[in-house]
């Protein structure tokens, strides 16, 4: 269930990012409807309020229905994510476990040596 909600948030956020101006829940509902996905406007409002709480959208409440816009462009968040993944291997915050960081030339030579030995063995 949590997973489906996550997928819905992603779809709604994509709609917000793709739009050129602020959108309402009804805009998104109509857009989904065209794409063959039927959702109630109330469901979308719940999704919007979750996204707002997480700081991904802001709402203009001076008009009804409320208009939502992205707090930052998609690329900004991708950069934030990649920064956390790639950033400062010396002071990682134990948030995530990377497979391998950048391999130094000396370490790469060690590994290539191993691969050559294996090749020659057949």
């Amino acid at each position: 269930m949590a997973n489906t909600l996550g997928e819905l948030e992603r779809a709604v956020m994509d709609a917000v990012w793709d739009a050129t101006e602020p959108v309402t829940a009804y805009d998104v509902r109509d857009q989904f409807e065209t794409a063959g996905r039927s959702l109630a406007a109330t469901t979308l409002l719940t999704v919007f309020s979750r996204l707002e709480k997480k700081g991904f959208v802001s709402s203009d409440r001076s008009v009804r229905p409320y208009r939502y816009s992205a707090v930052a462009p998609r690329e900004h968040h991708v950069a934030e994510l990649m920064h956390e993944v790639l950033g400062g291997s010396s002071d990682r915050t134990a948030v995530l476990e990377r497979f391998v960081g950048s391999v130094s030339a000396a370490d790469a030579a060690t590994l290539q040596q191993l691969l050559r030995t294996e090749d020659s063995r057949g």
Binding site: E9, E84, R92, A94, D107, L111, L114, L115
Partner: protein, 266 residues
């Protein structure tokens, strides 16, 4: 024996001299554990052949170091002010609280960062078409990592990684990440990270943190080596590590970090 004034009947009175001696011994132990032992240990060659034992030993050194320091502070306090045990124990208690507070703060920080990261993953990555709890990040940079979260751990693979690796190499990467998750390496690293942030001026904290980080990579590699041959894992490491950003400028890491690669070739 001097008359025990104010000591309840039957209470065990420890002679003052014993308190002083034990305090001095504990100071010596904590000093050894804070400096020469971890330095010697981090230079030893055997941990790359026995990473599990090395990890246990680091945990032992860390715990014994902390407790000996708390004990030394407590007994020193009692040696200085034997008449006022409550006041005498304040430095030891303060130090214990300081260490625990750092652990608490580190746990809260990491949990918040993971929650934020997960929220970003929800919006920016697609679920892997066939693998459960695996998400695909649409980026050319070849990266693989996992976000350990107890039951809700997520593995993230970038599109660049999927394009670059063959299926065996991908098995190696995923088995490596699963090793981290199944063996709860995140908890171990969290404890040593907290230890390091609490005692930044102690060689033990910095060394232990770096050593533990390198050793858990070896354990995760061993997890992968049960499923793939060494050269497959080596190829995967080269594909990811030698093509990522900053690969040209990558400085040789610590000896222990390099050990991870050396042990594949024997």
């Amino acid at each position: 024996m001097w008359p025990a004034v104010g000591v309840p009947e039957g209470a065990i009175v420890v002679p003052h001299g014993v308190v002083v001696w034990v305090a001095m011994i504990l100071w010596l132990v904590s000093l050894l554990l804070a400096w020469p032992v971890p330095v010697w240990f981090s230079r030893a060659g055997w941990p790359m052949r026995a990473p599990v034992i090395a990890l246990l030993l680091w945990q032992g050194v860390g715990l014994a170091g902390g407790f000996s320091m708390i004990g030394a502070l407590a007994l020193t306090g009692l040696a200085v002010a034997p008449a006022h045990p409550w006041i005498a124990l304040i430095p030891a208690a303060a130090f214990a609280v300081y260490l625990l507070a750092h652990l608490g703060v580190t746990i809260v920080q990491v949990t918040q960062q993971r929650r934020r990261h997960l929220a970003l993953l929800d919006l920016l990555t697609a679920p892997h078409p066939t693998r459960a709890r695996t998400r695909v990040l649409d980026d050319e940079v070849p990266v693989a990592y996992c976000l350990p979260r107890g039951v809700g751990s997520v593995t993230v693979l970038s599109q660049g990684l999927l394009d670059r690796l063959d299926s065996d190499e991908l098995v190696a990467v995923i088995a490596h990440e699963r090793g981290h998750v199944e063996q709860r390496h995140d908890l171990l690293q969290l404890a040593f990270r907290a230890w390091r942030s609490a005692l930044p001026w102690f060689p033990i904290a910095r060394l232990a943190d770096a050593e533990v980080a390198a050793l858990v990579e070896m354990l995760a590699d061993d997890h992968a080596r049960r499923e793939v041959r060494d050269e497959v894992l080596a190829r995967a490491i080269l594909q990811v590590g030698a093509h990522g950003p900053g690969a040209e400028a990558a400085a040789s890491g610590s000896t222990r970090a390099s050990d991870r690669f050396k042990r594949l070739s024997r």
